[in-house]
């Protein structure tokens, strides 16, 4: 009886059928809603995992790892193009202070120190290109030295931070992160282990995530991603030797390798800049090579010591020039963007008084003292426990 009354009322109202365009709109909106259900489940699951980045960064990374890397990169490119820095501007009056100023006497025995980085812009600022020990208790042969210099005469406000790492006094360790590399059973603590903090000298960011780099990774003899010929590779051997070279061994991996981390083609090889630094596609499915963003790179000097460089507003080419000026004869680009670029030194044993290489570095200087998403490198001082 009641339903008859309702139908009768509806008939009287004579509701017209929806026009086709409204039905099409309804179909699309319902389809979008259905699509968003598995998306929401996956996204919430990701948010509930342990992480030390904001939910917005985690969301961008989630999108990248779920097939949207080209789209995210395109949006990033547009953003950085719109916010590109302008040339010139007022000159800087001082550089950020890095490292520790020591008043110790000159060592009696000759100890190698890298030469001062020759300033690009004249007159030079006080301390420009001058190396300072990173630690207050470094002794006569500091394992890590730091300096800054203005990296580009056309942009006199850009300051590059550079670190020199004495490979004779240090041991470099590859530390897997919470989420990177993705396929790893025993990933460890994803931070500087508390038991090793009395020897920690520095920590710095790794390369691109494996999913976006299309590059290889070997860790403790296990090939986590197949090695790719021609790609710049940071290698550590069982005898402690470190090198950066283009990979030439195909899929064969020397059993004496402790880790081998690849990232993009070399940016410097045999002292020369890669001639393709201005070609976009070779530099991976990330932001374009000419976009000015935070970039970092790692090289070796002719004595086999490591040189790390990072700065904001760098292109691949300008980063390569910074590394070459600091003495690198072979070098590779590491991770980019403010969220992922970190070089941290510790002024006192026990990882006390951590300090970012540059004060503008976005991530806190305690970044690697708690579990981090991404893989990174830890520099330990040899010979002391």
């Amino acid at each position: 009886m009641h339903s008859l009354q309702v139908e009768d009322r509806a008939r009287r109202r004579e509701v017209p059928p929806l026009p086709p365009w409204r039905r099409a709109r309804r179909v699309l909106l319902i389809a979008a809603f259905i699509c968003l259900v598995p998306i929401a489940v996956s996204w919430v699951r990701m948010l509930r995992q342990p992480r030390n980045v904001s939910w917005s960064i985690a969301t961008v990374e989630w999108a990248r790892s779920h097939g949207a890397n080209p789209l995210v990169s395109q949006v990033e490119n547009w953003y950085y193009e719109l916010n590109a820095p302008s040339k010139g501007g007022p000159p800087l009056k001082s550089l950020p202070r890095v490292g520790v100023t020591t008043a110790s006497a000159q060592p009696r025995v000759h100890i190698y120190r890298p030469p001062r980085v020759k300033p690009l812009i004249h007159p030079a600022l006080p301390g420009e290109g001058v190396w300072h020990p990173a630690s207050a208790v470094a002794g006569r042969r500091p394992p890590v030295l730091l300096t800054t210099f203005r990296s580009d005469p056309e942009y006199p406000q850009f300051v590059a931070g550079v670190a020199w790492i004495d490979t004779g006094r240090t041991h470099l360790a590859y530390v897997p992160g919470l989420a990177e590399p993705p396929e790893l059973e025993n990933r460890g603590p994803a931070e500087v282990p508390p038991s090793k903090r009395d020897r920690i000298a520095a920590t710095f960011n790794g390369g691109f995530p494996l999913e976006t780099s299309n590059a290889g990774l070997v860790y403790h003899g296990e090939v986590l991603a197949p090695m790719v010929d021609g790609i710049a590779t940071l290698v550590e051997y069982q005898d402690g030797r470190i090198d950066i070279r283009p990979w030439e061994n195909g899929e064969h991996v020397n059993p004496k390798i402790v880790f081998a981390k690849q990232n993009l083609p070399p940016i410097i090889d045999e002292g020369k800049l890669n001639p393709n630094l201005n070609d976009g596609p070779e530099w991976g499915a990330t932001v374009n090579n000419a976009i000015r963003v935070w970039r970092s790179g790692l090289g070796v000097d002719k004595r086999g010591n490591l040189i790390y460089a990072a700065a904001n507003y760098q292109t691949v080419e300008s980063l390569a020039k910074v590394l070459r000026r600091a003495g690198a004869v072979r070098a590779m680009e590491l991770d980019i963007n403010e969220d992922w670029t970190s070089f941290i030194t510790y002024r006192h044993p026990g990882a006390k008084e951590p300090s970012n290489l540059l004060p503008e570095m976005f991530r806190p200087d305690t970044r690697y003292l708690e579990p981090d998403e991404r893989d990174f490198f830890a520099v330990y001082v040899k010979g002391s426990k």
Partner: protein
């Protein structure tokens, strides 16, 4: 067939079509990130469109009633 029954049948057909489209999209695209990139703005814009439409209708009715 009453207008109500016709509307219900149309809704069922539309939901089925939407489910088919969603299944196709989810299986053919490179990943959930790509789908989210388009589906979320589409849903938000669509809901905003409907909200504006309803607001205009409501304002017109009120003006007619008041005037």
């Amino acid at each position: 067939m009453t207008p109500g029954a016709r509307a219900r049948r149309a809704l069922i057909v539309d939901v089925a079509a939407a489910a088919l489209i969603a299944a196709l999209v989810l299986s053919l695209t490179a990943g959930l990130g790509v789908v989210a990139f388009f589906a979320l703005p589409l849903l938000l814009l669509g809901l905003l469109w409907i909200a504006v439409e309803r607001l205009v209708v409501w304002l017109r009715r009120r003006r007619r009633r008041d005037g």
